[in-house]
Amino acid sequence: MRNLRDAILELYRDAATSLPADVEAGLRRSLAKEERGSAQRSALLKILENVKMARYTSRPMCQDTGVPLFFVRMPAGFSALKIRDEIVRATRIATKKIPLRPNAVDILTEKNSGDNTGTNFPVIYFEETAGKQLTIDLMLKGAGSENIGQLYKLPLRELNAGRDMDGVRKCVLDAVYKAQGRGCPPYVIGVGIGASRDQVTRLSKEQLLRSLDDKNALRTLYNTERNLLSEVNRLGIGPLGLGGKTTALSVRIGVNHRHPATYFVDVSMSCWADRRASLLIKI
């Protein structure tokens, strides 16, 4: 399991210091749309320089190295307990070596554990797969963008939002309007729809793992995602909330079945630093 620990340490390094290529390309595309000489264009240029320097000098691109979220998919026969143990050990090493900012705070004593571990910290989700490979996705979720996420229960009178894709559309626009520039836009937006609250918050997070180049296989969702992105960008909040054309780089929607009486919509947002990395081990 020692190799797994080292691999997870590298996964941390990759996620913290190297922005995924699709997100960087998205930022470059948004740069081209912002007016020359504007504050938002100048900020985007410095963000891109920052991305380059972080990768080159192997330093975390943002000082908030976030809440580490692990999504583990494992073939039958693997022990979730053992994998959890390796993740926790790797987290302690990563915090010191990379370094990451210690972000795990005890609710009652207010004490920071100092090594990014604590009760259910990091957050780890396990799932068994039919395949022959172990996949570990890591997302470092910054708190600024975590604080702007919203959970909706449809129908919702204040938005005149019903239980359909148009209602979902209204929720997303509401969440982005309320967020303004506080979570470091351009945002990557993940939406989860389903039967229970706990389920949709996870589903919306999982959408943030999808590449910006990934096209939704469901035609209706693909269209909703595209239209929503263009509507979100009409809000004019812009890069870092300084105004401008790009408030979001993508909108991604995931759906589960719902109960006849429930319709929950969760909107998760990632800052421009949508830090994710993936590890794949063939068995």
């Binding site: 504050a39 972080a54 330093r59 691109m61 303004q180 809000l235 812009g238």
Partner: protein, 203 residues
């Protein structure tokens, strides 16, 4: 929102009230001199205690409070700032107006903007809000020449401690000025009218 006609100004710290009066929403600035980090714990502390000058190990007069919880590495040669971008300022809204009036600071720097109470205090006391580049932690750390001191490291921990940073050409944008203007308020209003149209809400 005249951000496209912005100019870049060089600011040597500390600032006077008069310096502040020349700054307007949309101006891009480059800061040089000492700035002090303070986030949730430091704000709670400074706002509730109203400390006399001699009780604070560095001068806040004319200075900049920077909303930032950096990554700092301690080496044999001293403290090394690894990454230090701004944190969300809105969390500090309930404290900031008191800090502005107690300690004579001339600029508050962070990201995402602040609310009405802070905007009033900026006008009353002659202070500005500077928007730093969210997430550009490595780029901004490279604008810090030296970690010149730290206070409350033991008590508050690395993230929440007050770090005295010696910066050179640290970039930011004035988004709330001492004349009562707030870019954040303006963008919020404009985006709200678009939001209402898109969602089909009436007044």
């Amino acid at each position: 929102m005249q951000t496209s006609e912005s100019k870049t100004l060089t600011i040597n710290l500390p600032m006077t009230r008069e310096d502040v009066s020349f700054l307007h929403v949309g101006d891009m600035v480059l800061l040089s001199g000492h700035i002090v980090t303070a986030r949730d714990k430091a704000h709670q502390f400074l706002a509730s205690e109203r400390l006399p000058e001699e009780k604070i190990p560095f001068s806040l007069k004319g200075g900049v409070i920077y909303h930032c919880g950096p990554i700092v590495k301690q080496t044999a040669a001293g403290f090394n700032l690894i990454a230090g971008g701004p944190t969300t300022s809105m969390r500090l809204e309930m404290y900031e107006h008191r800090i502005i009036s107690y300690y004579g600071i001339r600029a508050v720097m962070g990201k995402g903007g602040m609310g009405g109470q802070t905007l009033d205090a900026l006008k009353k006391k002659g202070c500005v809000y500077l928007h730093a580049i969210g997430g550009a932690a490595v780029y901004l750390a490279d604008r810090v020449k030296k970690v010149a001191g730290v206070w409350k490291l033991e008590e508050f921990g690395m993230t929440e401690a007050m770090w005295l940073l010696d910066v050179k050409d640290f970039p930011a944008v004035v988004t709330m000025d001492a004349h009562g203007r707030s870019l954040h308020e303006e963008i919020d209003k404009k985006s709200y009218s678009t939001f209402k149209k898109l969602v089909g809400l009436r007044d």
